[in-house]
């Protein structure tokens, strides 16, 4: 099953695209696994996800922690800490 990844703000700029569809390999079970796997996909990902602890994640448009399981996620968004308001 293909999963839609969406990027915002400097995560989007560093990765160089606003979204993409990916086939998650076996073993990528949690948000932390996903960040680790993405980081290995190339220099732009490495650059965007250099400090995974600061990356905020939403699954199906709801905030989740890095230990959250991603099974069944249609849409996973990665972004920096928010600065609205």
């Amino acid at each position: 099953m293909s999963t839609k990844l969406i990027y915002f703000a400097w995560v989007r700029e560093r990765i160089g695209k606003p979204e993409e569809h990916v086939e998650l390999p076996a073993g990528v079970e949690t948000v932390a696994d996903l960040l680790r796997w993405l980081k290995s996909r190339g220099e732009e990902y490495e650059n965007a996800l250099q400090y995974p602890d600061v990356i905020r994640v939403a699954i199906n448009q709801e905030h989740v922690g890095h230990r959250e399981k991603i099974a069944g996620a249609r849409e996973i968004a990665l972004f920096p800490p928010m600065t609205g308001g």
């Binding site: 969406i6 915002f8 703000a9 400097w10 939403a58 448009q61 709801e62 905030h63 968004a77 972004f79 920096p80 800490p81 928010m82 600065t83 609205g84 308001g85």
Partner: protein, 159 residues
């Protein structure tokens, strides 16, 4: 009663009219005793800032503000609640965000508006990028730890 209040939530590019938003909440009602409004504006940082570009996550922005608003309605006896958050390019002096909280008494309205803003700052998916007055691009505004701390003080022991 509080549980029947449906918050009005809008995420939009256009400006908003604070007086019109208050009127929309209070018109034709005699039970509201207190209306607290908070407006957040774009400031020019002593002339250094030309504009802010607000990026948002369409869909989640509305949903997350809705979740925060629902929590506020559960915690305070509100009679009305409006939240408007703008996106796109906003120049100094323009509005960015509006919270209008109505209640029978002032304390609930003050506290709910304060809570809403603290949570919006750290949980609503918006990001500000600076355009500098000298023509350079500027960077992404960094999240402030003080904003996270401000949101944390509303946490209840059971959460």
């Amino acid at each position: 009663m509080a549980s029947t209040v449906v918050p009005a939530i809008r995420v939009q590019r256009e400006d908003f009219d604070v007086a019109a938003e208050i009127a929309a909440l209070t018109e034709g009602r005699a039970d509201i005793g207190a209306v607290v409004t908070f407006s957040g504006l774009c400031r020019d940082e002593k002339g250094a800032l030309a504009a802010l570009e607000l990026e948002h996550y369409p869909g989640m922005a509305e949903a997350e503000i809705g979740r925060i608003a629902t929590e506020a309605i559960g915690r305070w006896p509100l009679q009305g609640l409006t939240v408007v958050h703008r996106h796109g390019k906003i120049t100094p002096g323009e509005n960015i965000v509006l919270v209008v909280a109505a209640s029978a008494h002032r304390q609930a309205a003050f506290e709910a508006a304060n809570f809403l803003m603290d949570y919006l700052k750290s949980r609503a998916p918006f990001w500000k990028k600076e355009h500098r007055a000298d023509g350079s691009e500027g960077g992404w505004v960094e999240a402030k730890e003080a904003d996270d701390e401000a949101a944390d003080r509303w946490k209840t022991p059971d959460k």
